[in-house]
Amino acid sequence: MPLVKGGKIADDTFVKVADDAALPASGDILVSADRLVKDRDALLARTGKLGVIWPNNRDMDELARHLAKLAAIALVFPSFRDGRAYSQARLLRERYAYRGELRASGQVLRDQFVFMLRAGFDSFEVKKQADAEAFAQTVKRYSVFYQPTGDGRITALHRRMQLRHSEGVGT
């Protein structure tokens, strides 16, 4: 499954470690939410970056106290019909001011890229190679956005206001 990061296909430096597997001595790892809660001290004692895979039905408030120690959070789309992780992503970025890597995992297709970017995701475990290759092109599909989100893109309403004011200056 290709990883898209920084707008292009990239190597995944993170290794997913199963709950019953021993922790590797070094290197970047992704662990489950349960393991993060249980083995927090051991996980923080390691060298290498720490990330967590956070299920889409688990409260964000619970994740909040770990944020300062996390280099990556992978949110989950068990099916692309299940949109809970969009809300989780926005909360992480916009309420908890999380600035680390925010990864979309699970059923990720090109048709969700724009929504995901707008919600604050910046890396993507893409299901299909062709979709990963089409990333740069697909995210340019839309130039108009009606809603304000934490990604800072200007909304249609505000663009109209700017146009209005600039026209006002000219006359």
């Binding site: 949109g83 809970r84 809300s87 839309y142 009606y146 249609a156």
Partner: protein, 551 residues
């Protein structure tokens, strides 16, 4: 009318090219049908019994002549020469080919029409009063706010994959023509003591398998906060709405399971985080949207022109005028409802020829504007009273002057088993039979206002729960069986109907309805007492006794 600007047009065009790519990937096999399903649904494309069905949005029910003509074009070029207006201010085409869909969408985009928000588990087409902006006594035009919310809910990055579909309706009149109490969110536009615009917000209404009347979650949300308040409701729903069972996934179930108090506390807490954000709407933004709605330059006309006085001698004209013509806020003008319920016809259908002709008539008599209501009828919102006789003659020639608006043959029905893959029973043939039974205008008039709603399955697209008489078709041991309720209503006093007895067979439905009506005529206190009021006064029992006495 709201005029799209370059920004709106760009988005619609970008959407069309995205869909073109999706269809291409489906046709090449790159997308599985399961993957494609959600994508096509988000563009209004359902797979029905015989073919793909294409549902197109008519936001808050406002159309221009040019747009209506384009529907005629779609019906002619890509379909079988007609379209079907739905209960949620949409139009459906039932026979379209998948490979034609991108072109059909592109043709619609040229006139600012699209199919976003017409299906899928997202925020659906915002609906409103079909008399918005012209109804006497209206607080203000609810379409300004409808448009604001339409924009905000279009391709929303957080709420396009909700547990289930989500519908919002807005009214600004005392008499609710938008059925806000049976919507996921209902907004009643009101003013506070300072004269500022805001909304009473209702939540958790809906029909289907488990019907609920919406409950007030907040008595007043200021207009500037309405987007953040809606966003807070949606965020709570997106996270906690059930996804394990499609029949329990609507917000009404979450509200019911948590209780309105707990649900509203959750929303309130979320809202406090986001209300002072960029979601706050300043007056300038509202004014900008308002400035892109144009209103006709009305003439100063007499209340009772000679043309109308003369036509009053014609009983056929008078019969039509009395139930199709409603008062307008401007003197000398009327709102004309166009019945799409001819005797023996499927409710809500219009042919390409009728749509073209109606577009011409709207240009001639209604400043080029047409409205679509949830009762599956159309309306011309600005007709000078002096033009009523000429308009009536023209409509009559087109088969569009059936004088039955709000009468017993003005039936709301879903497509039913004839088209729909979800249906268990036929709806349209029941409606057709009832229009024949009550074809006599004198009789229909004697009965007075009476709404019949028919659904061909428990999903309740025909809103049977809120029909004065509701008919629900189900399947029992391989046969169509119809359950009949009375006393429902969808307006400001919204209520769910009550069953009057055991289900009946297809062949018996029209007889039972006749018996119910006969019982009403015998039971009513005076001719002015409407069916719904008699049922309210007496309850179901006396009807049950009379209808089932001989069965």
């Amino acid at each position: 009318m709201y005029a799209y600007d370059e920004i709106d047009r760009t988005l619609v065009n970008e959407r069309v090219s995205e869909f073109r790519d999706q269809v291409k990937r489906r046709l090449s096999g790159e997308l599985t049908e399961d993957e494609f399903k959600m994508l096509r649904l988000q563009n209004g494309v359902y797979l029905q019994l015989h073919a793909y069905m294409f549902r197109v949005a008519i936001p808050y029910g406002t159309l221009s002549s040019e747009q209506l003509r384009r529907f005629a074009h779609i019906a002619r070029k890509y379909d079988r020469g007609y379209g079907h207006f739905t209960t949620r201010q949409n139009i459906q085409f039932n026979w379209i080919k998948l490979s034609d869909l991108p072109d059909a969408l592109a043709d619609l985009a040229e006139v600012g029409i699209h199919a976003m928000q017409t299906s899928g588990n997202n925020m659906r087409n915002v609906t409103s009063d079909q008399w918005a902006g012209v109804a006497p006594g209206e607080i203000e035009d609810p379409r300004i706010w409808s448009e604001l919310i339409r924009q905000h809910t279009t391709l929303h990055p957080e709420f396009s994959f909700l547990p289930r579909k989500f519908k919002i309706a807005i009214t600004a009149s005392d008499h609710d023509r938008a059925a806000i109490k049976i919507h996921d969110i209902g907004l009643r536009l009101i003013k506070n003591e300072k004269g500022e615009t805001g909304f009473e917000v209702l939540v958790g209404g809906g029909l289907g398998r488990t019907p609920f009347i919406g409950k007030t979650i907040k008595h007043f949300v200021h207009g500037r906060d309405i987007l953040s308040y809606i966003e807070a409701i949606l965020r709570v729903y997106n996270q906690y709405g059930r996804r394990d069972n499609i029949y329990k996934a609507r917000i009404k179930i979450l509200v019911h399971e948590l209780g309105i108090e707990k649900f509203s506390r959750e929303v309130e807490e979320e809202w406090q985080h986001i209300r002072n954000s960029s979601l706050q709407i300043d007056d300038e933004v509202i004014e900008d949207i308002r400035s892109r709605f144009t209103y006709p330059a009305y003439e100063k006309l007499p209340h009772m022109p000679d043309e109308l006085r003369q036509a009053a001698a014609d009983p056929a004209f008078e019969a039509w005028r009395k139930n199709s013509v409603a008062p307008h806020k401007v003197q000398g003008y009327s709102i004309v409802t166009i019945s799409l319920k001819p005797v023996g016809g499927p409710p809500g259908d219009a042919t390409a020829e009728q749509m073209d002709a109606l577009a011409d008539l709207a240009e001639k008599y209604s400043f080029g504007e047409i409205r679509v209501g949830h009762e599956q009828n159309l309306a011309l919102p600005h007709v000078a009273k002096r033009d009523l006789p000429a308009l009536w003659r023209a409509l009559d020639k087109l088969g569009l002057a059936t004088p039955n608006v709000n009468l017993i043959t003005d039936i709301i029905a879903c497509p039913g088993l004839d088209y729909c893959s979800l249906a268990n029973a036929r709806s349209i043939p029941i409606a057709q039979e009832l229009t024949r039974r009550f074809a006599n205008h004198e009789l229909a008039n004697l009965i007075g206002r009476l709404h019949i709603n028919i659904s061909g399955c428990i999903n309740a697209c025909g809103h049977h729960h809120v029909g004065h008489i509701g008919i629900l078709g189900v399947e029992k041991n391989g046969e169509e069986v119809y359950q009949i309720t009375i006393g429902g209503r969808a307006d400001e006093s919204a209520a769910l109907g009550n069953l009057i007895g055991p289900g009946v067979k297809f062949e018996e439905v029209a007889d039972v309805v006749e018996d119910v009506v006969e019982a009403y005529l015998a039971l009513r206190e005076r001719p002015e007492e409407l069916f719904i009021d008699t049922v309210k006064r007496l309850g179901v029992e006396p009807f049950k006794e009379r209808v089932y006495a001989t069965r």
